[in-house]
Every structure is written in C-alpha cells, then in structure tokens.
C-alpha cells in the first residue's frame, strides 16, 4: 500500500502508541484486501462495547489505547451490556456494571460519543450519499451502504477504532464502485402484511443471496423502521452488507439488473417463520428494539400498552437509544410504558446484554434478535408488535 509521508510517520510512531497500532492494523488490512491507499472517512461507528463480549482482555486493550488515543472524526458507539443509568432495574450485577463502566470510561477518554446505539443514523451520525465511513455493527453497516448510499466495509471493533484514531480507512471492498455491483436479482412475490414480515424477508433473502449483493424488486413501500429491521435480518442471515431495492433505495435505478434471478414466494416467508420460531407457549421475556426502537416505534408500543399490565412472570423491555427515550419522556410515552410494567433498556439490547440463563423464551419483532437470543439458550418467537404486546400482557404466545 502507498502511504503519504505523514501516514508513514504515523506508522513509525510519531503520534504515539494508539496511532502506531492503528496504522499497523489499517496497513495490514489494506495489504490483505489489496487496497492501494488510505481514504478519509466522515465518521466511525465502534462496536465491541459490551463487557460481556470484551472481557478483561478487551478492557485492558481499550485502556492501553485510551492512554494516548484520541479520535480524529465523529465517532459513535454501539450498545453496551447494560443501561448505563438504570442497570439495576434490568437485573445487572454490581460487578458487571463496574467493569462495563470502566469500558465506557476508556471510550470517553478517547473522545468517542457514548451514544450506545446500533442506530447511529438516528442520533446524529448520518453520512451523506456516497460518503466514505468506517462503521462496525452489521445492521448499521447495511443501512449506511444500502438505505443511505454511503460506503463502508463491515468493520470489526478494533479496525473501526483504528480508523477513528487515524481518520482514514484502507480503500478496498465496498468503498470501490466495482465491488458495489449487485450480483443476484431477488424478485419478491410475497405480500408483507405485518412488521415482522420484514425480518422474515431478510431471512429468506439472506439465505438465497448468501455472500452476495441482492437487487430486490417487487417491494412497493418500505418505511424507515421496516428498512432498519430488514437490514439487520438480511445481513445476519447471510447476505453482504449492501442491497438495492428498486424504487426505495438510492442507486437502484441506475444499476444493471443481474441476470442470475431467484424468487421469494409466500412459502419462503412462512418457512422463515418456521425456522426462526420454536415450539413454545410460555413467554418470560419480551424485547422490542433490535435494531433500537425509533421514537415512532416507541409511540406505537405506548399506544398498544396503554391501560394494560405486563404479566407478573414476564419482563417487557423496550431497547432504544437514550436520545429516543428522552423524546419519549417528554411526550409521555415512557410513563405509559412504565406504568404498564414495561422497562426501558437504553444503551443496550438483547444481543449484547449478559442474559444467558436468565430467560427461557423470548418474544420479539426482530429476526436478528432471535438469532442472538438462541445463542443465549432462549426459545424464540417472532411476530408483530401486537402479538409481542399480547405475549407481554398474558405471558403466553397465542398464535
């Protein structure tokens, strides 16, 4: 890879340990993937925040970097393993909270915004069309590439941090036009009638377009929340973190429709539900917000939960960003949800909180949430928001 004089000096250690390590990482990745140079990035999203996943080794590494590492561009953070303010209410242990706070302190020292959300694009980290960024968090990467038309590879935690300390990333993969060409045409013939169908569609397309860039036709309408859910699902279940959706996402009109074609029928959607859903009736955990709930989704939850009561042996969590919760506080949604016995899980989510062994069966609107909860040994049910609220209120899955 060709480095400028300035970059070479950074690699040689002129700006200290964090920048030197970062340059070593960026140069090695650039060499591995055939990048010729580094390019400037507009922003960074850093994953690998939960102490549950980092452990003491990760914490130690972050502390090492925090000694002299300061971010050069707008940098936001993925969810942590707990609500940073209200962790006790979510049943998080004192020891865990202490370690998690140390992780957060290290990130703060680096100059990172402690946004703790997987939806950075909803809280002020919104790239423009065509802008190069270095993001981790697969659902956000897919949203940035596909819905916004920004350009990012699927970074890991350390490579995203490296990009933040240098302000650049190696130019390869999805940063280049030639690697953003769709390679499979997915014709959707199925009707999508409820919100969770978008997760099911993501599952079906992820499987059919494994490691490919799908060009999707047959979708008439999709809002922000539907797209956010679809992004999380399609990449979790196998596609590359970029798709085109005709009439919906930027660039779809100008790219050539791939010859290789697969179809998604109603039966594929049913099959996705069959694969995601386990045989289970008793639900002890209902969690909505994977990816994090938008303010619109919180409003819908409050409307459905108004005047109802969450079942005694069931926990109901609304996972969202702190900024969305602040809007919900002002509008009175928080009060409605909490009065019904629901809890807000800000800064965290079901995929990264230490939940192993705590719950037996999850109900959620999210296909991605089901994937990660199975790793926590939970049985899973995916359905509409109405079905999830019903499960929270009755403690049973009823359809």
């Amino acid at each position: 890879m060709n480095l400028t004089e300035k970059e070479q000096r950074m690699l040689d250690g002129e700006e200290g340990y964090a920048v030197r390590k970062s340059m070593e990482i960026l140069v090695a990745l650039g060499d591995i993937y055939g990048a010729e140079r580094l390019i400037k990035v507009g922003s960074v999203q850093v994953a690998g925040v939960s102490y549950h996943n980092l452990g003491d080794a990760g914490l130690e590494f972050l502390n090492e970097l925090a000694k002299d590492g300061r971010v050069k561009v707008l940098t936001t953070l993925n969810p942590a393993g707990m609500d940073l303010e209200n962790w006790r209410n979510l049943g998080i242990s004192e020891e865990f909270a202490q370690k998690q706070n140390m992780v957060i302190e290290a990130f703060e020292k680096m100059g990172i915004l402690v946004s703790c959300t997987c939806t950075p694009y909803l809280i002020g980290n919104l790239p423009r069309y065509g802008e190069h960024v270095a993001w981790s968090e697969s659902s956000a990467v897919t949203f940035a590439n596909s819905v916004i038309g920004a350009r990012t590879n699927r970074e890991g935690g350390p490579s995203a941090l490296a990009a933040a300390f240098v302000g650049k990333t190696p130019c390869y993969g999805l940063h280049l036009d030639e690697n953003r060409v769709p390679d499979i045409h997915v014709k959707v013939n199925a009707d999508l009638t409820k919100f969770s169908d978008w997760g099911a569609l993501g599952y079906a397309i992820g499987k059919k377009a494994e490691n490919k860039i799908p060009y999707i036709t047959g979708i008439d309408e999709a809002g922000l929340d539907e797209l956010k859910s679809f992004c999380a699902s399609v990449v979790t279940y196998g596609a590359k973190p970029l798709f085109y959706m005709k009439g919906i996402t930027p660039g779809a009109e100008t790219c050539q429709v791939p010859k290789d074609t697969v179809e998604v029928e109603q039966s594929d959607i049913r099959e996705a539900y069959d694969n995601i859903n386990d045989e289970v009736t008793d639900i002890d955990f209902v969690c909505v917000g994977c990816p994090h709930c938008s303010i619109k989704e919180i409003a819908e939850i409050a409307e459905l939960l108004r005047g109802k009561r969450v079942a005694e042996n069931t926990e109901f969590w609304v996972a969202t960003s702190r900024s969305a919760k602040q809007l919900a506080d002002k509008r009175g949604y928080t009060q409605v949800i909490e009065r019904a016995g629901g809890k807000f899980a800000c800064d965290t989510c079901m995929a990264v909180a230490p939940l192993k062994g705590r719950f037996k069966a999850l109900a959620t609107t999210s296909a991605k949430g089901c994937f990660y909860s199975r790793q926590n040994n939970m049985k899973t049910k995916m359905g509409s928001l109405e079905e999830c609220i019903m499960a929270a209120v009755t403690g049973k899955w009823s359809s």
């Binding site: 390590k21 070593e24 990482i25 090695a28 990745l29 060499d31 591995i32 994953a47 690998g48 996943n53 980092l54 452990g55 003491d56 080794a57 990760g58 130690e60 590494f61 981790s136 890991g156 935690g157 350390p158 490579s159």
Partner: protein, 130 residues
C-alpha cells in the same frame, strides 16, 4: 533447511514446534483463552494446546471478538509463538497485531507438518528440523 516465503502480517521472530490443521480456526468460542486449548467441537485440533506453538492453519473464521481473545491469550501466556496462514483475514490479522504475535500468510502450509520445528522471521518460514 527448507525455506518458505510469505507475506508479513505482523513482524517479529517466533520459533517453536508446529501445530497444523487444514481447518479454519475461530478464536472466540473455539479456543479457551485461559488454557490455550482448542475447544471447538469436531475441530481437528480439539483438545490440543496452542501455547508456545507455531500455529499453522488456512484462515480465521467466526466473530470479530476473536481478535481480543488472542490478546487475552497473549496476556495469559497461552498464545501461540507465531501464526502461519494460507490467507490471513481481519480477525487473525488484527489479533496478531494488537497482541504482537509474529504472523505471516501466503505460505504453502501443506509443507509444514505438526511436530516440525519452525522459525518465522519477517517474511520467511524456516523448517529448522522436520
């Protein structure tokens, strides 16, 4: 002494007994960082310890958290003395760099057998004794 050429992922010297596999390795969940033992079910190296070995495998796989697992192994003294890959990917490359484990790839790994004494130095693998 036979020499094999490769590409430097992380510089430095490492020498030890080779532990080789034709299967990809996931460090997160696949290797116990406290003991350095491969614990992935059904893996060729299941039950083997990588500590102090020159670990030879085609490529990495699994969660990106695996980079931190390598770092933790280095701190615990259970890390390999060096890594040789056919094609290095992000997880192993980043793990080797942050843990400062000598690592090279683009090597014809079929030439190296478990038990060979191997030295890595910059871009060269030397089979000291096979």
């Amino acid at each position: 002494m036979e020499q094999l050429k490769g590409r430097v992922i992380y510089k430095g010297k490492g020498e030890g007994e080779a532990l080789t596999t034709s299967m990809p390795i996931s460090f997160y969940g696949g290797v116990d960082p406290n003991t350095g033992e491969v614990i992935e079910k059904g893996h060729e190296l299941q039950g083997k310890r990588v500590k102090g070995k020159i670990l030879v495998f085609p490529t990495g796989k699994g969660s990106t958290v695996g980079s931190y697992t390598l770092y933790r192994m280095k701190k615990n003294g259970t890390a390999p003395a060096g890594i040789i890959n056919k094609e290095c990917e992000t997880i192993v490359a980043v793990g080797a760099i942050i843990s400062e484990i000598p690592c090279i790839d683009k090597v014809d790994i079929a030439r190296i057998k478990t038990g060979d004494i191997v030295r890595i130095e910059d871009g060269t693998v030397t089979l000291v004794q096979d």
